[in-house]
């Protein structure tokens, strides 16, 4: 009845015009002007890049990759939560930048691939010889045999950070078991310090903690249940939900944590107001910069039957890693493809430099890092299994429902049994 693109733009305008004036920020959408700008540029073609990762190494790596490729870089950092909205609108309206970063997980990757707006990279990977630098299985080949993305991050995982100064003042040590964790929560509360800072407003931090608690009960529980070989009402899920309830009831999280934004909660931890912080390993750099030697790290404690190094929760899986995609409508698609690949390799060098396992060959030598990051690198090499975060394995609508459900558990609206019963109903639809 109507042209798809016009329809999407028109409907998006109707839906968004009321409310998104504050969300777009100052970042201009360059998609529509790319053609004119390319024509105006006599010597260098330009490439616009959207990045949600706040680590400054992304910009320096992008500048280096642009210089290598011979393009003019238009780098746009967009705050993470805003990025998700902005990208999904740009995707629906086919107004993407030349190159863009995408979060890990099926719920983020699938819409990008289904939109048919991204270019296959096979030809450039082959013609430049750069494809050979990626390690085995690090480039995802889709069902049609094409490679549409290159990695933009290593496999980051969920870890427990702690504040060394506060823990020392409490006369305690980093928790190794469930009992240690409970004792530390009590000790912190007795001293009027927040035990664990948690950003409950965006919900993801809380659902990752639940994922981790389930993995600590049984590392195979989720895989079995999602395949239909077990149920989400089985003991590991109920026990983990009970542990969430115990943590909430023992005031393990700051007052009003359900209304706390992730960054606000992080500030509590950075500013010596909270003892522990459950977050991704991707934050080592920024937390180290803010807290220096005061930052402590441990693999998440043994809260159930499984050992601490039996499994961790990963922010990506092999099929849906953090990626860089290239817009197939880009005015400079060939340059954009080469730029994206070179950027991916530059970022890999930075990870290797930090002592972390990269996804591609690198001639960069690992520089000495702080002890905590070294400990993490050692732990992750010994960790038996990385369980992809559940949200990343679910479709967008089921994933959001899952997050709503975990918030209801943390908010005390559901008992462990009610929660797992609803979980079983919800995730069974995701099969």
């Amino acid at each position: 009845m109507f042209g798809k693109k016009f329809g999407v733009v028109a409907a998006s305008a109707a839906l968004v015009s009321v409310m998104l004036t504050s969300c777009g920020g100052a970042e201009a959408n360059n998609g529509g002007t790319q053609g004119q700008e390319a024509a105006a540029a006599d010597s260098k073609k330009s490439v616009t890049l959207w990045i949600f990762d706040a680590d400054p190494m992304y910009q320096s790596a992008a500048e280096a990759a642009a210089a290598e490729t011979g393009v003019e870089l238009k780098y746009e950092y967009i705050q993470d939560e805003t990025y998700k909205t902005k990208l999904s609108v740009a995707l629906a309206a086919n107004e993407l930048p030349d190159v863009f970063q995408q979060h890990a997980g099926k719920s983020f990757r699938t819409p990008v691939l289904q939109s048919k707006t991204v270019a296959p990279l096979n030809d450039t990977l082959d013609s430049t010889g750069l494809g050979a630098q990626f390690l085995d299985n690090q480039l995802v080949t889709e069902e049609d045999g094409n490679i549409y993305s290159v990695p933009s991050n290593i496999s980051t995982t969920l870890v427990l950070y702690y504040n060394k100064k506060l823990i020392s003042e409490l006369g305690a040590a980093a928790p190794a078991t469930w009992e240690d964790l409970q004792s530390l929560v009590k000790a912190a509360n007795d001293k009027g310090v927040i035990p664990i800072a948690l950003g409950g407003k965006e919900r993801w931090q809380a659902d990752l903690l639940y994922d981790m608690l389930v993995a600590r009960e049984d590392v195979t529980a989720f895989d079995k249940a999602i395949k239909g070989e077990a149920k989400f009402t089985d003991a590991p899920f109920v026990e983990a939900a009970n542990k969430v309830t115990t943590l909430v009831e023992s005031n393990a999280f700051q007052k009003g944590f359900l209304g706390s934004a992730y960054l606000d909660a992080q500030e509590l931890f950075k500013n010596d107001k909270a003892v522990m912080w459950v977050d991704g390993s991707f934050n080592f750099s920024s937390l180290s910069a803010a807290m220096g030697d005061n930052l402590g790290y441990i693999a998440f404690p043994k809260t159930g039957a499984e050992d601490a190094l039996s499994a961790t929760i990963g922010f990506q899986n092999a099929e849906a890693p953090y990626s860089l995609f290239v817009n197939n409508s880009s005015a400079n698609v060939a340059e954009a493809k080469e730029f994206a690949i070179r950027l991916s390799l530059k970022l890999n060098d930075e990870f290797v430099r930090k002592g972390l396992p990269g996804y591609a060959k690198s001639e960069v030598k690992s520089e000495s890092q702080n002890a905590e990051l070294s400990a993490y690198a050692a732990d992750i090499s010994q960790t038996v299994k990385t369980q992809a975060m559940w949200f990343g394995l679910l479709s967008a609508d089921v994933g959001q429902e899952y997050r709503d459900l975990t918030q209801a558990l943390y908010g005390g609206q559901l008992t462990a049994e009610e929660f797992t019963a609803q979980l079983e109903t919800l995730l069974r639809t995701a099969e």
């Binding site: 969300c23 927040i194 700051q254 009003g256 959001q400």
Partner: protein, 294 residues
């Protein structure tokens, strides 16, 4: 020029660009949104016609929809029953000939010039139960027992957001009402004074009746603003905790752009448009009265 402007065809020609802009950017998107509301569509893949299924889901299966409707109505009621009377009171105060009235007027109006995002972020910090000013102030005043998690508690989150929106927009209504009051000739009050009508009597028999048109505009604006509320809720609570502050506009955004249920999001958008139209129409009917002249 005058001759040209008396020609209806030329007038129509002048109006045409505006009409085209209106049709393309307002009317067509509304019609298209209504069309999408009848589809099962994620915004990317081919759509499938499902008739009124999205509306059936909205009214019967979506538990948070009715919560969102109620919350939107709470914004409406507070806007009309609390914000407007407070604005009226402030407008009365600043219209009096007293020292510093310009200063007061500017102070009350100041929040209006701040962006909603900025105001919301400011209040998020004020409400923060761990480092926020409000709890600290209450503890200092010996009201420690009354401190709360404000935005993080389902019992207080909606009220907390409502207080902020009232604070933010009270000056806007005040200024409109103040301007209306300035248009009431002073001799009416002087004549009333001779008849013994001062204070509240003068307000009731002179200010209220002569301000009825302005009040009606304020009510309609407040209602439309309340039903369209998005930014403040998005920034302060994102609809949480546990959907306690979800409003229709936010739910529409979440469905369309986070859950990628573009069809269902469109159905919510259609509901919101119809809701605004119906309530505005009813209000216009109810509040319309013959112009009063003394």
């Amino acid at each position: 020029m005058e001759k040209a402007l008396s020609n209806k065809k030329i007038i129509a020609l002048f109006l045409l660009p505006g009409l085209i802009v209106f049709l393309v950017f307002y009317f067509v998107p509304i019609v298209m949104t209504a069309y999408y509301s009848l589809q099962d569509w994620d915004g990317i893949n081919p759509m499938a016609f499902i008739g009124l299924d999205n509306y059936t889901k909205m009214f019967t299966a979506d538990k948070s929809f009715w919560q969102a409707v109620w919350n939107s109505l709470a914004f409406l009621l507070v806007g009309v029953l609390i914000q407007l009377p407070v604005s009226f009171g402030l407008a009365l105060l600043v219209s009096r000939r007293m020292k510093g009235r310009k200063w007061f007027r500017n102070i009350y109006f100041f929040p209006v010039v701040m962006s909603t995002t900025m105001v919301s972020l400011l209040w998020v910090k004020i409400y923060d139960p761990n480092i926020g000013m409000l709890n600290t102030l209450m503890e200092t005043l010996g009201l420690g027992a009354w401190t709360g998690a404000w935005l993080g508690d389902t019992k207080t989150a909606l009220l907390s957001v409502l207080i902020v929106t009232t604070w933010h927009y009270v000056g806007y209504n005040m200024l409109i009402l103040f301007a209306g009051m300035q248009g009431i000739p002073e001799q009416y009050y002087e004549a009333a004074k001779l008849d013994g009508a001062t204070g509240w009597k003068a307000v009731r028999h002179i200010t209220f009746p002569l301000l009825s048109d302005v009040l009606r505009i304020c009510i309609v604006l407040n209602v439309i603003y309340a039903l369209k509320t998005f930014e403040s809720v998005y920034v302060m609570t994102n609809g949480g905790p546990l959907n306690s502050t979800t409003v229709i506009a936010l739910k529409m955004f979440q469905e369309a752009f986070l859950k990628q249920n573009f069809g269902y999001g469109s159905a919510l958008a259609v509901f919101m448009v119809l809701e605004c139209l119906v309530i505005s129409w009813v209000l216009n009917k109810v509040l319309t009265q013959e112009k009063i002249e003394y």
